[in-house]
């Protein structure tokens, strides 16, 4: 019996959140395959292929610059400001929406075979991270054209990406759990996203938000801590205080832990839900 060490005993399971984490590590090759499938399948049948990842945020930025450059004339480096906001927001909003629909696809599979329940959400967010990295190309292009210098602080971007990944994954896990039980969450989420986008400093300058309630609107918005760190690193070009790092880390890891535990505590019920 070559495989007799593989024992499944429902009476000896660890805490669901830990059990799920260990299962995900065992299934790491599956995650790789799912990420690959997401990327390959998305671009295989489109003519411009992977170029869309770069053209989409560029197009959005161009519209925003044309529409708003007269309104926010004072804003410095407005095109670079908008584009840096748009690519981070696009990564977050798209990955969380897609994670939800991947659970709809996955829930059919959950009735058929065992796979770690978080696999589909994790792989969707990872695939979006790949797209996010690709969107650095148009961002660099706009930096070059508008004469914004790129400083060494940009080397800290990998740390930022860990935060962005954790935050998006946490939100995606919360949403997907709710979406399994209440499919109308998928209809409601785009509305929430639109509101959230206008409440975050993506398109409108930061000063605009600082004036509202002494900046309270910013501080209660978890996404502010994400976008703020990104802009400091690439746009402002300095290494922020430890306080800024700490706030972003606290928000993103906090959301991840809440999302993970919530998802795992409900995951046993997914296959029951018909």
């Amino acid at each position: 019996m070559k495989n007799s060490a593989m024992i499944y005993d429902s009476a000896k399971r660890k805490h669901p959140a830990i059990e799920e984490f260990l299962a995900l590590i065992r299934y790491r090759d599956l995650i790789y395959q799912l990420v690959r499938r997401d990327i390959v399948a998305r671009y295989k049948r489109s003519v411009l292929g992977i170029a869309w990842t770069m053209l989409n945020p560029l197009g959005t930025m161009l519209i925003m610059v044309v529409v708003f450059s007269q309104v926010f004339q004072t804003a410095k480096n407005y095109p670079a400001y908008v584009l840096s906001g748009v690519i981070v927001w696009t990564m977050f909003s798209q990955s969380t929406s897609m994670a939800m629909s991947s659970m709809v696809w996955g829930s059919q599979l959950f009735h058929q075979i065992y796979v770690p329940r978080t696999s589909f959400v994790v792989s969707t967010i990872l695939a979006s991270m790949v797209n996010f990295v690709l969107s650095f190309i148009p961002l660099g292009l706009i930096f070059l054209i508008t004469g914004v210098p790129l400083r060494p602080s940009a080397l800290l971007l990998p740390v930022f990406m860990v935060f962005l990944f954790s935050f998006s994954l946490g939100v995606a896990l919360l949403l997907s759990t709710l979406a399994v039980f209440f499919p109308d969450i998928a209809d409601f989420y785009p509305v929430l996203l639109t509101a959230w986008m206008y409440l975050s400093p993506i398109i409108m300058p930061l000063d605009f938000y600082r004036k509202i309630l002494n900046g309270l609107l910013l501080y209660i918005n978890p996404f502010y801590y994400i976008i703020n760190l990104f802009r400091i690193l690439v746009l402002d070009g300095f290494v922020p205080h430890l306080q800024t790092w700490g706030a972003t880390a606290f928000v993103s890891f906090g959301v991840l832990i809440i999302g993970w535990v919530f998802f795992c505590s409900k995951a046993d019920k997914f296959a029951y839900h018909v």
Partner: protein
């Protein structure tokens, strides 16, 4: 590897079910939206009817045994297989399985039509819990067994349904399992391919795999299984030697 097994009930037990119950909670009126749920929650109007798909099932299957499950539609056969293959976590009770379990229930799970045959082999194989290295080792064998030929580099949408089913079976059965779970819907491909499937399963059986099979065909169970169980309304009606159980079941069907 038996020295690695500690604190287990019996060393030769392949599958153990203790007091397994599966209770589905069906909302009395189906609530499909979050809005409705919140309104009803506030009003305190959420009632649940429960439905017992399995009721206190006790079962022990030894290594190397060929065990059959009989029962009408809706008796709980598929639910039982889901519990054993880890898809459903039981509401109550304990399930234990020992060894690599191959559920030949849903062939080609997660196949993607835009990906090529090879890409789908890797996707499907990792979904079944195999590593990429294990799949690489078996790749040629899988392709040869599925009889896909040159199509293996083409997207899956160009495959006939028979080719997809053959590929699914080839991946799912590529590794020698310790426990083989068979649903009767294993009529894959044409007669010649079915012959190959049965041959492969015979090899698994002969090398000591435990087989758990579900079938409507009483004759097939009688000829293949040593022991059997008759399931009705989620409860065990009779369990014992395959011949006895088959006789009782067919007598019950006559009435």
């Amino acid at each position: 590897m038996s020295e690695s097994i500690i604190n287990q009930p019996h060393n030769e037990t392949a599958i153990l079910l203790e007091n397994i119950s599966i209770r589905y909670r069906l909302p009395s009126e189906s609530i499909r939206t979050f809005k409705e749920y919140m309104i009803r929650k506030v009003q305190g109007r959420i009632k649940h009817n429960s439905f017992l798909a399995l009721n206190k099932i006790n079962l022990e299957i030894k290594q190397g045994e060929i065990f059959g499950i009989l029962g009408r539609n809706g008796a709980g056969k598929s639910t039982l297989l889901k519990v054993i293959s880890k898809v459903l976590i039981p509401t109550e009770g304990r399930v234990l399985t020992r060894g690599y379990l191959s559920p030949l229930l849903q062939l080609g799970a997660g196949f993607h039509t835009e990906l090529t045959g090879i890409e789908n082999i890797f996707l499907n194989g990792t979904l079944l819990g195999r590593s990429q290295n294990e799949i690489k080792e078996k790749l040629d064998e899988i392709i040869a067994f599925a009889e896909i030929g040159n199509f293996i580099e083409a997207p899956l949408r160009t495959y006939s349904s028979g080719m997809q089913a053959r590929l699914g079976f080839a991946v799912a059965s590529a590794w020698q399992p310790d426990i083989l779970i068979l649903d009767e819907v294993l009529a894959v491909g044409d007669l010649a391919f079915q012959e190959k499937c049965f041959e492969r399963m015979a090899v698994f059986r002969n090398s000591g795999a435990t087989v758990l099979m579900v079938s409507h065909s009483i004759d097939r169970l009688r000829s293949m299984c040593q022991r059997a169980m008759w399931l009705e309304h989620g409860e065990i009606q009779k369990i014992g030697a395959a011949d006895d159980v088959c006789d009782t079941y067919s007598a019950a069907l006559q009435n």
